[in-house]
């Protein structure tokens, strides 16, 4: 099967780069699945989960990988999918208890302005995505 080069990059690291059969990103206009030879596209991303069916070095084994992400961007080209985000977490990187505590604290904190409400909404979505990736959502 044809593959596309999938990479997920944060300012602190190249988190993943490899071949994938399918990449699904949480586009601001809804989930967006990219197969190889997808038309060129640039989209903003909302907090959520990036899923990729990555192909191992033998070209056969397919490994499903999931990353919780904050807001960012994705660039889809016929031969590649690039996800640019501030931060990304895979399951082992999420501490379920502390993430839950953070989420509770966030929900109790009052917001004083529209900007604060918006920032809190985004943080909440990021935390929820982290919990979902870790399988610890309520």
């Amino acid at each position: 099967m044809a593959t596309t080069t999938f990479s997920i990059v944060t300012p602190e690291a190249l988190r993943f780069e490899g071949q994938a059969e399918l990449v699904i990103v949480p586009g601001s206009e809804g989930e967006l699945g990219a197969l190889p030879r997808h038309a060129a596209l640039v989209t903003t991303l909302k907090p959520g989960i990036v899923r990729a069916n990555t192909v191992g070095p033998d070209g056969k084994t397919v490994v499903r990988r999931e990353f919780a992400i904050g807001p960012g961007f994705a660039q889809v080209l016929p031969e590649s999918v690039t996800v640019l985000v501030d931060a990304a977490w895979e399951k082992p990187e999420v501490d379920v208890e502390s993430t839950r505590a953070e989420l509770r604290a966030l929900r109790e904190r009052p917001s004083n302005s529209e900007a604060e409400v918006e920032a809190a909404r985004i943080s909440e979505q990021v935390l929820a995505a982290k919990l979902r990736v870790a399988g610890g959502h309520e």
């Binding site: 990479s7 602190e12 206009e29 038309a39 640039v42 961007f73 660039q75």
Partner: protein, 292 residues
């Protein structure tokens, strides 16, 4: 000629200094590895973000944004001067400050708003110009560097949007190698188009979601934020490299001086002993001559 005791005191104080410079050298050597690794880890992001931005600017067609317009004449020029927070790194900070002054002189006649990142930059601007648009430390105890960069970018974007400045430039040190760091100036806003968009030529059309303007409006502030973040990382890595070199030289120089002073002290001591023996011998001779 200094006395043996004077020389011994100077050697002692030099040894203390040498111990401090040696400790600082070791600290710099330990930190540079992490700082340099962090700097390298940010490169893939830089390349990809630039590629995305070029695609947008080239293929977005008519999408427009104030940051892509030519600089607004008649408004002050904002200069971000970035240095380390601390000194004891040779001419590292001073060179960057000098480059900023040179850059400012090249824009004579324009009023300038100074922004300082790093305590040394803030001190230099205050000394030379008195006032400062805003300043931040390079390494904050309260927040990670990414967030510090975001705060700086937000302030700069706000000042540009509010018309306090019509153009923003940055002067900061470039990490060329462990031995060489060179100050460099570049424009931050308006964002300059990079020459030679080879990848753009291979694509006929690019779709944008939700639309070009929205994507660009989100991407440009991110680009600014990241450019500042990368510059901060580079400034920190360069600082440790410069400090490592400065402290290595200081330790070596102290060692050389200690050697020289030790030789001087030994010959002074020897001279004193010789003199004493001569006196004793002279005395004995005098007594013998007196007929005892």
């Amino acid at each position: 000629m200094p006395s043996v005791r004077d020389l011994r005191d100077r050697i002692k104080s030099l040894k203390n200094t040498q111990q401090i410079t040696k400790a600082m050298k070791q600290v710099a050597a330990a930190r540079i590895r992490r700082a340099e690794a962090a700097m390298r880890a940010a490169r893939p992001y830089a390349q990809r973000m630039r590629a995305m931005l070029d695609d947008l600017v080239e293929k977005g067609g008519k999408i427009d944004h104030p940051w892509l317009q030519p600089a607004r004449a008649g408004r002050p020029l904002g200069i971000v001067l970035m240095t380390a927070d601390k000194g004891l790194a040779g001419a590292y900070n001073a060179n960057t400050v000098r480059e900023a002054e040179r850059f400012a002189r090249g824009r004579q006649g324009e009023s300038i708003v100074w922004y300082a990142v790093g305590q040394k930059a803030a001190q230099a601007v205050r000394r030379a110009h008195g006032e400062l648009g805003a300043n931040w430390v390079l390494v904050s105890k309260e927040r990670p560097m990414v967030e510090q960069a975001r705060l700086i970018a937000e302030r700069l974007a706000g000042d540009f949007a509010g018309g306090q400045v019509g153009e923003i430039a940055i002067v900061r040190p470039r990490f060329v190698s462990m031995l060489t760091q060179r100050p460099e100036s570049a424009r931050l806003i308006p964002v300059e188009r990079e020459a030679g968009g080879e990848r753009a030529a291979t694509l006929s059309a690019v779709e944008f979601e939700p639309d070009g303007v929205t994507v660009l409006s989100a991407l440009l502030p991110k680009y600014l934020e990241f450019t500042i973040f990368a510059a901060m990382q580079e400034t920190l890595a360069g600082f440790f490299a410069a400090q490592l070199l400065a402290m290595t030289n200081a330790t070596d120089n102290a060692g050389k001086l200690i050697d020289e002073l030790t030789v001087a002290m030994n010959s002074a001591r020897q001279a004193a002993i010789t003199k004493e023996i001569l006196e004793i011998a002279g005395g004995a001779e005098a007594l013998r001559a007196a007929g005892h």
